[in-house]
């Protein structure tokens, strides 16, 4: 969905709309919602997967052209559903740095990962384990790559247009 969000793709939009609808109407034990609230975001613009959805819908609705009436309805419905979710499951939408919220989100086995920016490779590229199955023409390897990292502090949404010093 994230990959296709900027294309004219009704399928991806309906998929998103229905996923949020499922979280609002049918997700009695909040497992689906908790998954979306914990798994890492698709880009460096967001900490969690959930974080890009609302800003994207708002920005699409703000467009004057290129968004059909039917699409606007879906985006509006997504925002209404998100608002309902925030009201009904307030505890899950707390600050993720707050231990109580974190504990609640991780209660079902999901883990919130700390977001890191991965910068450049600094060498050390080597295979640490390679297994070969000659009979079946298979080779499987695990490699190690040393990279520089820094802590990522996204503000949520898609606010930063470019990353400098790449």
């Amino acid at each position: 969905m994230y990959e296709k969000k900027d294309f004219w793709s009704d399928g991806a939009l309906h998929m998103l709309g229905n996923l949020i609808h499922a979280c609002t109407e049918k997700d009695a034990n909040s497992l689906l919602l908790k998954t979306l609230l914990t798994i890492p975001g698709p880009s460096y613009g967001c900490v969690r997967y959930w974080d890009w959805i609302e800003p994207h819908c708002v920005s699409q609705l703000a467009k004057k052209y290129g968004v059909s009436e039917a699409q606007q309805q879906v985006y509006t419905q997504i925002l209404v559903n998100i608002k309902t979710l925030r009201q009904e499951k307030t505890a899950l939408f707390g600050d993720i740095n707050d231990p109580e919220t974190r504990q609640l989100l991780e209660a079902d086995g999901d883990r919130l990962t700390d977001p890191y920016l991965v910068w450049k490779n600094v060498g050390g590229a080597e295979w640490i384990d390679v297994k070969t199955d000659a009979a079946n023409h298979l080779e499987c390897g695990a490699g190690e790559l040393k990279t520089t990292v820094s802590k990522s502090l996204p503000q949520g949404g898609l606010s930063n247009e470019y990353i400098e010093d790449m």
Partner: protein, 174 residues
């Protein structure tokens, strides 16, 4: 003939087979085909049925019932739903998307499996720059492989298909 197991009463069906026969939109052959776990025919049958939006509401109930506490059928239905969601025409994806709502929120011990299959598992994206020679040294990760902050660094790959991540493997929801 389909037989009821009184120890397994799903939230979708109270165990009264006569009632099911009365309300079911499927003929006896189709219903029988649906229960043929492991039979290729049942998967094709399900694929064809998902193309049509007419029976979506009934199918939601039926698939909910069949997937409930059934890992094997859940896996089969998951593959069909995910393939259906990867079609290009909007009218073709609507039925699988609506059925996925039920599939993802069906509450039993296998719900997490179904969610993982549909949404995929997050994996760090990387690109090779110089073919396969010195594969590791030519890998580009993180900031090196993106142009803008909004570009994707994580992808969500489903492990529902044998060649996971390979060419032609249906994309997960996310």
């Amino acid at each position: 003939m389909v037989k009821a197991d009184p120890s397994l009463v799903s939230p979708y069906f109270d165990g009264d087979l006569d009632k099911l026969d009365e309300s079911c939109f499927l003929d006896s052959y189709s219903l029988q085909a649906m229960f043929m776990d492991g039979d290729q025919k049942s998967k094709l049958w399900l694929q064809n049925l998902l193309k049509d939006i007419t029976y979506t509401n009934d199918l939601q109930i039926l698939i909910g019932h069949l997937c409930w506490k059934n890992l094997q059928f859940s896996r089969k239905a998951g593959k069909v739903i995910l393939k259906g969601c990867n079609k290009h025409k909007t009218e073709e994806v609507m039925s699988p998307i609506l059925i996925a709502n039920e599939y993802l929120t069906l509450k039993d011990e296998f719900q997490r499996n179904r969610v993982e299959w549909m949404l995929g598992l997050p994996s760090f994206e990387f690109k090779e720059t110089h073919g396969n020679n010195e594969l590791l040294a030519s890998l580009r990760v993180g900031c090196q492989q993106i142009r803008e902050c909004k570009d994707q660094v994580y992808t969500y790959k489903t492990n529902l298909f044998p060649a996971a991540g390979g060419w032609g493997t249906p994309d997960s929801f996310l």
